[in-house]
Structure formats: C-alpha cells, structure tokens
Symmetry: C2
Subunit: 484 residues, 2 copies
C-alpha cells in the first residue's frame, strides 16, 4: 500500500470532522457508489464518449440539464478550471476585451493569459463589518460597459468563497442589453436553486454560461464539475471545441459516475435533504446566539457592499476585534476539537456545510464555538490583523496593468529579490490558496502596499503561491524599467 492511500485511509478513520470540500463529506451511508477500479473503464461499446456524447453520457448530461433547467449541460472532469478556460476562450476572440471581476479564480486570469485578452477589471466592495469582500454591483458593470463599447463578454464570480451573492439577474439584463454573454463562475454555488433556503442559481438568473463545482458543495467527487449553457449568444460549437482541448481525452468514468450519482440524489431527495440542512443550520444559528465575542455572518450584511444575498451553506465565523485572529481560531478548532475548516482568513474561518453534513457535526461546531468564545475577549485595538483585507482590496483597486498578462511571458525577464522588486512589472501571479484569487497579476506594478501586504500575510502564517520561487524570496519581473 502506498503512503498516500494509507494516510488518506487513516485520516478517514479518525474523528476529524470535515467542514470543508468535497461536499460529500465522506458520508458513506448515503453514497451508494463505493467503488473506484471496478467501474473505471474507457470508451468501449455502449459507454459513449464524453467529447462526442450520444448514449449513456448524453442522457446523463440531459438529466443534469433538466435538474438545473439549463438548455444544455456538460460534465467536466478537469474541475471548474477546465470549464472556465473553455468558457472564456469560446466567447472572447483572440486579443479581445473581457470585463472581469478582479476577485475571480486564477483560472479566469489564465484564460486571459492564454487568449491574450485585454481584461477590464471591476472590483467588489469591502464589507467592513466582517472584513469580507462584497458583491459586484450592477452599476459598476453598466459603467464599465458604457466606457468600453468593445467588451465581448463579462465574467463574475457569485457566490464568492465566503458565500457572498451578487445581483446576477440585474447584471445579466445589463450585459444582454449589449448583446454579449455573461459567464458566472458559480463554482461555490452548485447547490443553489433547489430550495427556498438558498439563493436562486445563475441559470435561473439568465446567465449564458454557468460553471458549478459539484464537488464543492454537493455530493460528488473532487475535480468534477458542470457547465451550463443558455440562450443563443454563445457559439456552442466553439465552446465544445475548447472543452475538448482543455480536458483529457481519457475522462474518468469514476468522476462522471459520481456526478451522475449526485444528480440522482438531488432528483429524488432534494426536498428532504435541503429541509434537513435548513433545520440543522437554523439550530446552529440559534445555538450561536449566546456567543459574545465570536460573530457569525448573517443576513444583516445583505444590501451593503453589493451584497444581494448570502449562501447559508457557508458559515463565516468571525473573530474580528477579538484577542485571536483567523489563523489562531483555525488551529484551535483543528487541534483541540478536531474540526477541520475550509479556510482561515485574517479575521475569520470558513466552514462549508452541505446536505451531507450531520446534526452531530454541527453540534460539535457550535459546542466548540461556545467554549472558545468564553476563553477569548473583545480587543478593540487589534494590531495584528491590521485591516489586512482592506489593504488587500485597496491595493488591488489601485494597481494598473502596465502590460497585458501575455506580454510578460515571452519577453526579457529577470528574477529579482522580492524586497527589491518595488516599481517593477511582475511576470507572475501572487495569490493566497485558498481561495486562489490573484493579489498580483502578471503585468501589474509591484507597489510598496503590495510588499507590505505580503509581509503581513506571511507573518500571520498564510500560504502565498504563484511565483516559481515557492519561498517568494524572489519574483520574476520584466527587464524593462518604468518610471512614473
């Protein structure tokens, strides 16, 4: 037995409870498909071909389309990444203009890079109460489209990793007034639209392409996703072409069967499963009312900072203005309570809760929070979080693309010390993972505020990725110097 499998199996048998992806939560009682090798075949007679589906896979994708009420649905086996690369490649011509929400996943920026696009950025607001990133305002979309008449498509992310939902319906109307398509990266909202406790999904809100990571918040295996297409604006031939470029010609039947299983579970049990989830979450929130120092993000943020709605399947557990920070909270939950969160941010930790979670799991979480809440205090002069997200978002808004992303890739570049990289133009992405949203994009100027931000994140123990130099002692920049 290999080490990886051994460690995975040992972990599975431990008492660590997963408040993280994948959405199936390794909850085997309700997952009938308990196999891997036995059902792992290839495109033999009778088992169709994902890239040219006309049999059992076509039927499976049609059932998924029916469930989500989309015109057409594709199974994805290279994650939402493959869907995002394909969607952007299909709707924006080479070197064309894309209106892109700056808080998108790096795969959207990679599509910009590969297709040599000119990105026009729009930015979410800052929700100050909780120090989280807000929604994308439809007015901002309208303004950008008015300013750049040659934008070929709009790409936004809703919900965000933290569960912030933008007003997709209004944005879709504005985008469609220009006759161009709206792509919504709804990777974190594959569970939307099945129950009134959760927001409507973006298929319903008339987005042209919607991408769903079924593995994130629904019971499907990691790396599986769905892409929905609607309306007449998107050239489906082109979309199909790119899906078969960016995805393997040997797609896994284990992954595809897991998506199909997920669709079956929803077809039959969604009413009951989502009602149970609602009950569990409402019980959790009632129990959390006693918390004095820890705060749970709730509906009070709706209407501020471009926030149309929130995803109640994500529990944002804020320790802002207390004596501990997000990283410390994460460690306490993990080490003392064996509760594994999805993510730690400077001021909060994030728990993902799905239809596969148990009442007992949520009891463990609320119990842990009540104990921790008593041990920490309010701290009205916090020094170590230092408005990290405010600086982060402020920095992103104040950057300027000196070069398009692709222009930094094949020209003359050099590797310089990060601390000596001020005013240079980066050739590399820099991002926190999770969530994988670039802080710095190739082509952007490295500013003091960026360097301060990175040092601050590093001090707080966050993992920073992107540059070839994993340690981020150095960064690759273009050779040419700019003075401004």
């Amino acid at each position: 037995m290999g080490n990886l499998y051994k460690e995975l199996k040992e972990y599975e048998q431990s008492d660590f409870y997963p408040f993280h992806m994948p959405g199936h939560k390794r909850h085997m009682q309700t997952m009938p498909m308990n196999h891997s090798y036995q059902i792992d075949i290839t495109e033999i007679d009778g088992f169709d071909n994902l890239h040219h589906a006309e049999g059992v896979l076509q039927l499976a994708m049609q059932r998924a389309a029916k469930l989500y009420q989309s015109d057409e649905t594709y199974f994805l086996v290279n994650g939402s990444t493959g869907g995002i690369l394909s969607a952007i490649s299909a709707v924006v011509g080479k070197r064309g203009k894309l209106l892109l929400a700056r808080n998108s996943h790096k795969s959207a920026f990679n599509a910009v890079l590969l297709r040599e696009l000119e990105p026009i950025f729009i930015y979410p607001e800052l929700e100050e109460e909780f120090s989280i990133s807000g929604g994308i305002r439809s007015e901002d979309v309208a303004d950008a489209l008015a300013k750049h008449s040659d934008i070929q498509a709009v790409f936004i992310t809703s919900p965000t990793y933290d569960g912030i939902v933008s007003d997709v319906e209004s944005i879709a109307k504005i985008v469609h007034d220009r006759g161009i398509p709206l792509i919504v990266d709804e990777a974190h909202g594959a569970h939307f639209g099945f129950h009134p406790f959760f927001p409507q999904n973006s298929v319903h809100c008339k987005a042209d392409i919607v991408i769903h990571s079924v593995h994130k918040t629904l019971p499907a295996l990691t790396q599986s996703a769905l892409l929905h297409v609607n309306g007449e604006i998107v050239d489906r031939g082109k979309l199909h072409k790119y899906l078969s470029i960016y995805q393997t010609s040997s797609p896994s039947y284990v992954l595809m069967a897991s998506v199909d299983e997920c669709i079956s579970i929803l077809e039959k049990g969604r009413e009951l499963l989502f009602t149970q989830l609602q009950d569990n979450l409402e019980e959790f929130h009632r129990a959390s009312h006693v918390l004095k120092n820890i705060r749970i993000l709730g509906q009070e943020v709706i209407g501020h900072a471009g926030i149309k709605d929130i995803d109640k399947g994500k529990i944002v557990i804020s320790v802002k203005d207390t004596t501990i920070n997000g990283q410390q909270m994460n460690q306490i939950l993990l080490r003392e309570y064996h509760l594994q969160m999805e993510m730690a941010a400077p001021d909060y930790v994030l728990a993902i809760v799905t239809i596969m979670d148990t009442r007992e799991g949520l009891h463990r979480l609320s119990g842990a929070l009540m104990e921790i809440d008593k041990k920490i205090k309010k701290n009205l002069n916090p020094v170590d979080t230092g408005n990290l997200l405010e600086n982060h978002m402020g920095f992103m808004k104040n950057t300027e693309l000196k070069r398009r992303l692709y222009e930094t890739q094949d020209g003359e570049t050099e590797q310089v010390l990060l601390l000596e990289s001020r005013s240079r133009v980066s050739c590399e992405f820099v991002y926190l993972y999770p969530p994988g949203i670039p802080i710095l994009v190739p082509g952007e100027v490295i500013q003091d505020t960026f360097l301060a931000l990175i040092l601050n994140y590093r001090q707080q123990g966050f993992s920073i990725f992107g540059p070839v130099d994993d340690s981020l002692q150095t960064i690759r920049v273009i050779k040419e110097l700019f003075y401004n």
Copy 2:
C-alpha cells in the same frame, strides 16, 4: 442510483473480458484501494497541494521519479492531455517552430493551436506487411532540423497505439546536438523499462520530457498520468506554470492515490508481475502458431519502416488479406466471445495486455482466435479494406498547411457540405477515435483523396470525429478561396 453507475456496475459483473485500457483491468484481487468517496479530500492540513507539493504528494512524486530514474516527476490528473499541452507550451515560445511527428495525438496539435506555433511535420513510414504505421526515423529528424535551424523542440510519439517503438536514443542524440529538447509522448509505454521483455523507456533514452499514461498500461485509474523531466534544457519553472494552468486547482486525491498505489505495486512486485506477464504472452504466442489466416504481429517487423522495437504488451491481431476486416473481427470477438478489444483498425484489432491480465483471459483470446481462424479464409483480392491505411498515410504526407492552425480559428469561416469542400482550407480537425490522431488538421487543404478516405472509413463503420457537425455532413472551412 444513477444510470451510468448502474450500467458500469452491471458491466463489471458481466463476463466481458477487457483487452483494453485502463491497465488495472478491474482486477480487484491485487488492487487494495477499493474506495472512492472515503479517501476523497481536498488540500487540508497534512495533505499537501499538487501544484505546490512539499509534503506527502512531493514524497509520492519523488518515489515515482526514483522508480523511473528521472530527475523529476509530476503526477497528472488531466490525463496525458494536460502533460502534452504543458510540455509543448513550456518549451516552444509563442509562434515558434515545433518539429512534430504527424502521427501524434490531437492534444499535441491543440498545443500548436493554443501557442500559435508553426509545426514542421515528420511522418512515420508505412509497414506494409501488416498495414500499420511504422516508426519515426532518426534520419528524418536530422534532415528536418538541418532544413529548419529555428526549430525549438521536437515532439514524437513512441510507442504508437499499436506498439511501434522508434529509436528514441538516436533521436535524442540528434536533437540534443542542436541544444533543443525532445518530448516523447510515451503515453502508451508507461510499462517500459521495468523488465527486459519490454523496451527501455524514453527517460532512459535521454528524452527531456516523457509523458506516461499510467492508466493505459499500468494499474492506475483512468485520467491519471505522469510527466518526467530530465536534464537542463527544459525551463522547469515554465513547465510547472503550464501544468498549473492546464490542470484543475482541485485535483482528485482518488486519482493521485491510484498513481501512488501503482508506483507501490511496481516498486515491490515488478519482477514477479512482469515475469508472469512474459510467461502469459509467450504462452499466447505459442498457441497462436497454429493460426493459418489470422496473423499476430511479431518481431519480424523490427528493422523495417523505422521500427526499432515493438511493445509486446500490445497484440496486433491482423486479418489483412482474409475474408473479414478489422471491424468484423472486432464484432465477432465482442458478440460471440465477450472479448472487448481496445480498437478495431481496417486490417486488424488491437488487444492491450498488462501485468493485471490473467492467464485465463489470454486463454480465452487464443481459444477464440483458433476458432475464428478456422471459419475465415485467405482472400488474396480483398476489396473492402482497399489499402485504407496506405491511402491514409499517403494523404497525410501530401497535405500542405495553407494556414497555420490558429489562423483558421478567429477569421471569417463558413460551414459547407463535406462533399462540396474540395480544395477548401479546413478550420477543423478530423480524426478517428481511437486513436485520436488527426487525419486532417486546421489549415490543411481538403483533397479528393481525403474525401475518398473519409467515405471509405465511414462505409466500414469507423467513428470519425472532430468537426462541430458530429455527423460530418458539413465541415467548417475558411472563407477565402485558394486556387492552385
């Protein structure tokens, strides 16, 4: 339960024997990892990050590197496709020149398209005895490099789908003399180098990048693969960057664990397993000596048509010059004997045999062949295969790229009837699947010989893919007309 899973499970319980990928052959006695959801997690504490490996995944990849004796090895979760796109993108600059074997998988051509490369094609010879595609000659590589001094990399496929091995060592020497890298798509030869019964692998033959579909001929799950890097020519930073562009940011731990399991099985058991496989195959070949009409491809082809060696794990069962063709043979084996082949070609069927095959499985195959052999006859005037492969390869050699692949993608195009597409420049790929090698590439002129070939393939019941119009009644061509 979903339909797909149900059908997969029913198939698994049937008596159909798999002479096809994946290489694990659903042979559960020797595969300890019998789970999917339970071990499917995400990048939580202690489980590393494929794109920034420094823990359990790094160790697993280092063990794979040690086994293959490569400098560095990456696990791939988007199949060999993701590895091929990344390898080519990393070693050839935008719009650069790539020397590309014309019998490569479409993912190599997709890399040419995405990176806007100028491909210089080299062609395998035709092995006439068996009507199969031969190897790539080192002289042809040398000639092409002499003619085009600005070629930045060489890409070849060895072994082919049929098991034809080129002289990679000689080719590597020639390529390295120019200081450029050699990429070998050894997707079909992940089992090479472990036993003298099989050829050495291309890592040993000094290729700079070697891509192995571990799922094809070794016991690993479909969609998993390895990429090995050697020497100092390849910029590993760039390679790593492209691997994280073309592969999902949510890689499957089930797929990665299955690669790790495969490495463990080889570490411990390769001597015994490959010796058993040798015994089984030798027994099969002895039994096949009685065949009068069916022929099994053997070592007699070595030394002809650029063939350096053959992969004995692939059984090419030729019905050339008999009263049946490959498609008919395939149907007889499937319907009457429940033996599922990997592929039917015009003149032969292909069986893939791995260390997970059983002696009984091979007995069933040799028994079936003996029975069928008695029912068919020699036919010295075969009409219906019509030298299909000869025409196929002849056509490919006589095509000319009127436009580079990418130039056909964003310009003015039109959809025309296939039968009226003569002399037009295609915007689409046309290929048989399997094996997924393009017959026609975007930018190539549609000739009468191509149309005749397609009609002939279609008549014989082959699946032809590529164009958006799945039925291939129409094809997309560029609007501009060429007269020559």
